[in-house]
């Protein structure tokens, strides 16, 4: 880790001024990912701007019946918030599926959106990586790529975005509020993260001089029929090989409205609206769910070590939709998959 300067602004506007003034500066909130990257010399900031004391820590109901979550609300506090537990249990469940309780106590909501890939080659500065060093090549495409993407990959990068929380936020159609020198703007969750294309160094569409101030959830929380299923190499405290967030609005035995997002398979939360549309009005059974899974995975492409993810994802989608339709969401403490 290299030496760096440290600053602690008290206001959001001051934090934005400071980040705009120094292109090598980074914001730090929970620090769970950034400090780790700094210890590996992947990140070498000249200055850390400590935003952890900015007044962005409240969870409030919005006038339209939704929820506004301050960017600095710790993951644990969000998962255990009574309004999240009761109205957005899919979000609470996805948060509890990620990391460890220590890390969830530290990590912030905004920071979760900003976390970088856990691709081994991205972390290892002795190997080429287009995300870390644009133009140097991708070591994963022909390397150890068991954890890598099967959807939306490019010739430059097959990294996956590792968040669990964001998969639920994508399914719930959250919006992201950001502040820059010109004021505040909002982004649909689907527009926040990017596919790698030929610019894998950019994980998302946040500008370098902008800060996330809040995440907003619409009123519809799918509290009755939802499930977050995470498939990983260990039972706990491991990144997803495949994860699925499913949320349904039921009309008797039929699906009225469906939301489906996948984690662990792409450079961003993977959501295919055509698959969701195909479920609307259909009976909630395996045949309908399999059809939706096939639409989601129609463009999937495996590499040497991760082709198994395609069938795993297909089966996980069917299972998660079944859990959601039955009103029996996956428990994040009992690991039995029913």
């Amino acid at each position: 880790m290299i030496n760096f300067q440290y600053a602690r602004p008290n206001e959001v506007a001051d934090a934005v001024r400071q980040i705009a003034a120094d292109p090598r500066a980074r914001f730090i909130a929970g620090g769970t990912n950034l400090l780790d990257l700094m210890k590996s010399d992947v990140e070498q900031p000249s200055r850390l701007i400590d935003i952890s004391r900015l007044p962005l820590k409240s969870v409030e109901e919005t006038p339209d019946g939704g929820l506004r979550i301050g960017a600095l609300v710790p993951n644990t506090d969000l998962a255990y918030h009574p309004l999240v537990e009761s109205r957005y249990p899919l979000l609470a469940s996805a948060i509890m599926a990620g990391a460890s309780q220590q890390l969830r106590n530290m990590a912030s909501t905004g920071g979760n959106l900003m976390q970088r890939t856990r691709c081994y080659y991205f972390y290892d500065i002795a190997t080429p990586c287009n995300k870390r060093e644009p133009g140097s090549g991708c070591s994963a495409i022909e390397g150890l790529n068991r954890m890598h993407a099967i959807l939306g990959t490019s010739e430059s990068c097959i990294a996956v975005y590792p968040s669990d929380m964001s998969i639920a936020l994508a399914a719930l159609e959250a919006t992201v509020r950001v502040m820059g020198p010109g004021g505040e703007r909002t982004m649909a969750f689907a527009d926040f993260h990017r596919l790698p294309g030929d610019t894998p160094e950019r994980d998302n569409n946040l500008e370098p001089n902008e800060i996330i101030t809040a995440i907003e959830l619409p009123p519809q929380g799918f509290a009755k029929n939802h499930s977050y299923l995470k498939i990983r190499d260990r039972l706990s405290y491991a990144f997803a090989l495949v994860s699925v967030a499913a949320a349904l609005e039921m009309d008797g035995e039929a699906v009225k409205e469906a939301r489906l997002a996948l984690g662990g398979v792409a450079h961003k939360p993977w959501r295919v609206e055509a698959a969701e549309a195909a479920l609307a009005g259909q009976p909630a059974n395996e045949a309908s769910f399999a059809k939706a899974a096939d639409i989601v995975l129609s463009g999937a492409k495996g590499f040497e070590h991760n082709a198994f993810k395609i069938d795993l994802a297909r089966r996980a989608i069917i299972r998660t939709l079944t859990q959601a339709a039955n009103g029996t969401p996956q428990s994040q403490s009992s690991k039995k998959i029913r």
Binding site: I2, N3, Y6
Partner: protein
């Protein structure tokens, strides 16, 4: 023949050392006024500056939990915490859990259940369990296992660790 691996990107020149920053921390009940370089982790501050070596450095990357301490009552990985960011906080380490000359219920329970072999992860396990008891979210053995998954024990003493936590939980009036 010696094979050298060259980094694809050279490590940037470190900037000149900035002045140390004044930080005040309450550590195990004692107020400390300290001058800290901004890159000092809370773990290194505890071990190297304050000689509180009960807190252990395992992976130094937030993966093993050996460095777990309580900051303002919440369990965190001290290896991924910058000490300057915790200015004004209260920190409790394994050295601070005893009260009135008596072991904490968790410390006694770990002894009673033989909940360790080499002992290296134990201070982190006990601080993490103290955080877990304060959270009040774990009631069953299954929930204890899940909410303790950030603490790795390479000796594999997990069944005894869960039993120890259950004992402390009932001793302290919680469910088990």
């Amino acid at each position: 023949m010696v094979r050298t691996i060259e980094a694809t990107r050279p490590i940037s020149e470190s900037i000149p050392t900035p002045p140390k920053i004044k930080v005040s921390l309450k550590i195990n009940g004692d107020l400390k006024q300290l001058q800290i370089a901004p890159w000092t982790s809370l773990l290194d501050l505890l071990r190297d500056t304050l000689d509180l070596t009960g807190t252990k450095k395992g992976c130094d990357h937030g993966q093993c939990g050996a460095c777990t301490v309580l900051v303002d009552g919440r369990r965190v990985n001290s290896c991924l915490t910058l000490a300057v960011m915790k200015d004004g906080s209260e920190v409790t380490t394994i050295e601070g859990l005893m009260a009135d000359g008596k072991l904490h219920a968790l410390q006694q329970a770990f002894i009673d259940h033989d909940a360790f072999q080499c002992g290296y992860c134990t201070p982190g396990q006990i601080c993490s369990a103290a955080g877990l008891l304060a959270e009040g979210k774990a009631h069953t053995a299954e929930e204890i296992r899940e909410l303790m998954s950030g603490n790795i024990c390479r000796c594999g003493a997990y069944p005894n660790i869960v039993a120890a936590i259950q004992q402390a939980m009932s001793a302290m009036g919680g469910n088990s």
